[in-house]
């Protein structure tokens, strides 16, 4: 508890306002989330509603809760509180009464949510309701007409539908928390009787971890890439010693563990997590397994970067980071060797190094316990990411074969399509502002709601750019937000996903903004570069283009020529 107060002085580059509203006693949760946020470099501010005050806070537009104006709200409810006495005497009332009671409760919840939607820009995470393992109906519970468990399921189903309707509302599957740890462990009758504590104190840290699954992607702190060793990580044994037919993969108990681990990794890849290899081996020998072994699940096309050589693992990791072009803090390092784990931990503390044990049967549960790959919305770009990276590998090999950069760019046949923000694009635009660190002039982070508000505001022009080339579609990779005053337009945000940097796309987007401004009779464009630890790649962009420094801003006079790169085609939608 005291730790949470001491660490406030540390340096933070992200901040988050969190509100916690609950129907039962949850002391300690606020402090635990505070500590976890601070460890991640997030400056944490919180509002904790009084015991069981959630109705008042959410229904009254002038409540302290709404005044606090949180970024994210956790509404943590319990079924005893919701059903009141009927939690115990559901057998006493008719089927019809059970149904109408259930629908009345659903209406209450919907009413709260409607009020929230009207009064807040926060994201709202609501816990669904645990279905108790016990029912006095005993073995007939599932045979009974609209029984106790079905009532709760009905409420949970309605919550699920609500979360599908509203972008800003998420349901935290509390029933899954209970199935992970067990109702008998989480619910301690003594703590319940002593102080209406319904998640026992022992489990508050685990519960806080679950809620951090939302906090991490909100702050752009989710992991994006898993770097994998091969020997004794993706298969059992050492290929250089045991040979193609000697390694364990499939059939044996250990072999099954490696296959299952690969299947879970593939499943993450299909959701947009990038995979890469970092292995000390003879390249040809190891690649033969990846390409030809009948039980291998992950194949060459699943890896965005393949480093199989005898170099130092840290050096290889650095190489992979450069090739894929992502931040060290979005990487998970997965290697069975304790020395390698130590090496990477020391060299790159930002990387999440897994402590894999020798026993491969523990790999899958360790992977499943990571709650670091969450995204708040899965965009089409996310799902296509794996494919995009293998296209990128092909691009890189073209670049190596053509020595002149201009020829290479010419050869790529790039098309940039500039699109104005719309409902369909808002999630992706917000996502890019949250996670782009390198080519980002101002690193201003915007949640979806903020992008939506500004998209509807005629004083702003918000757009993004889709980039295509001969190898395929790179997806939406650039974003700009311009604030329009009568004579001067101000570039609030300008960013480009790093995998597309250095191909003139940034110049094409910028000149489109300038042309647009000129057409609207604007005299001057004002821009800003706010340096961070990571945005060095964008440092000279404005001056290279011809912007002049004026106080802390960069200014471009629109009487000047507007330069557009010639090697690419620009379309405006």
């Amino acid at each position: 508890m005291t730790l949470s107060k001491q660490i406030d002085d540390l340096k933070f580059d992200k901040k988050l306002k969190v509100a916690i509203l609950s129907s039962f006693t949850l002391n300690g949760l606020d402090e635990t989330i505070h500590v976890k946020c601070s460890q991640l470099g997030i400056k944490y501010q919180s509002f904790v509603a009084g015991y069981n005050q959630y109705n008042q806070e959410l229904l009254e537009p002038s409540s302290d809760y709404y005044k606090f104006s949180p970024d994210i709200t956790f509404l943590i409810l319990d079924i005893r509180n919701l059903l009141g006495e009927n939690f115990y005497n559901f057998n006493n009332i008719s089927v019809e009464d059970r149904k109408s009671l259930t629908h009345e409760k659903i209406k209450e919840l919907k009413n709260i949510i409607k009020n929230f939607e009207n009064n807040s820009n926060s994201k709202l995470v609501i816990t669904n309701f645990n279905i108790p393992y016990y029912s006095s109906n005993g073995i007939l519970e599932l045979k009974s007409e609209f029984g106790f468990h079905e009532m709760i399921e009905e409420i949970n189903n309605s919550l699920r539908n609500i979360s599908k309707t509203y972008n800003s509302i998420y349901i935290y599957n509390f029933t899954r928390f209970i199935s992970k740890f067990g109702e008998k462990n989480i619910f301690d009758y003594r703590q319940f009787y002593l102080g209406d504590i319904q998640i026992s104190l022992n489990f508050i840290p685990s519960f806080a971890d679950e809620l951090m699954s939302y906090v991490k992607p909100m702050c752009g702190l989710n992991k994006k890439c898993i770097i994998l060793d091969l020997d004794n990580t993706l298969w059992g044994g050492i290929i250089g010693e045991d040979g193609f037919d000697g390694i364990e993969l499939g059939h044996t108990p250990n072999g099954k563990a490696f296959v299952e681990f690969q299947k879970e990794l593939l499943s993450l890849w299909e959701q947009g997590v990038i995979l890469a290899i970092n292995s000390k081996n003879n390249f040809d020998e190891a690649m033969k397994v990846i390409k030809e072994h009948p039980n291998m699940i992950l194949r060459e096309k699943n890896f965005a970067s393949i480093q199989i050589n005898w170099n130092d693992k840290a050096e290889n990791l650095k190489h992979i980071v450069n090739e894929i072009n992502i931040g060290l803090n979005s990487i998970v390092f997965c290697d069975d060797d304790k020395l390698n784990q130590e090496r990477i931990k020391q060299e790159f503390p930002e990387v999440l190094t897994l402590e894999l044990p020798d026993d491969p049967s523990q790999f899958v549960p360790i992977l499943k316990d990571l709650n670091d790959f969450n995204v708040l919305q899965r965009t089409t770009e996310d799902k296509k990411r794996g494919e995009m990276y293998s296209q990128q590998r092909e691009r890189n090999s073209l670049e190596r074969s053509i020595s002149n950069l201009d020829d290479f760019l010419q050869e790529l046949n790039i098309t940039v399509i500039i699109k104005k923000s719309n409902e369909f694009l808002i999630p992706r635009i917000s996502q890019l502002t949250l996670k782009t660190n390198q080519f980002n002039l101002t690193t201003r982070r915007y949640q979806e709601e903020e992008i939506r508000t500004r998209s509807n505001d005629t004083n702003f022009s918000i757009g993004c750019a889709q980039v295509l080339d001969k190898f395929g579609d790179n997806g939406i990779t650039g974003v700009y937000i311009v604030k329009k005053d009568e004579n001067v337009w101000f570039i609030d945000t300008f960013l480009l996903s790093c995998r597309i940097m250095g191909r003139g796309v940034e110049n094409a987007i910028l000149s489109q903004i300038l042309k647009d401004a000129k057409t609207n009779g604007v005299k001057q464009i004002k821009a800003e570069f706010i340096p961070t630890q990571k945005n060095k790649p964008a440092e000279t962009f404005l001056s290279d283009y011809g912007f002049m420094k004026q106080d802390e801003f960069w200014v471009y006079n629109l009487d000047n020529n507007i330069k557009t790169p010639k090697h690419l085609k620009v379309e405006v939608e």
């Binding site: 508890m1 005291t2 002391n27 300690g28 003594r190 703590q191 009787y193 002593l194 102080g195 104190l201």
Partner: protein
């Protein structure tokens, strides 16, 4: 043995030094000993001594001496 362990656990839970603790210490004279930290103390003691207190034992505790008395009833010495 048990007495030393109890004092160490109390000091940790309430963030105070062991020298500030005696048998008469309790919520009255240790500022951070509120009902929530009191439950954390119960948790820590139970985990350490591998026992479970009853609700009456928990609500009965007014001083450190009470804790030691209940622990003795659980055959902890």
């Amino acid at each position: 043995m048990m007495e030393d362990d109890v004092n160490a656990i109390i000091a940790k839970v309430f963030s105070i030094s062991e020298s500030q603790i005696n048998d008469q210490s309790g919520p009255e004279n240790i500022e951070s000993w509120d009902s929530f930290n009191g439950l954390i103390l119960v948790d820590e003691l139970e985990n350490h001594f591998k026992i479970k207190f009853s609700i009456s034992e928990i609500t009965d505790v007014k001083t450190v001496a009470d804790i030691k008395r209940h622990l003795k009833n659980h055959n902890i010495s």
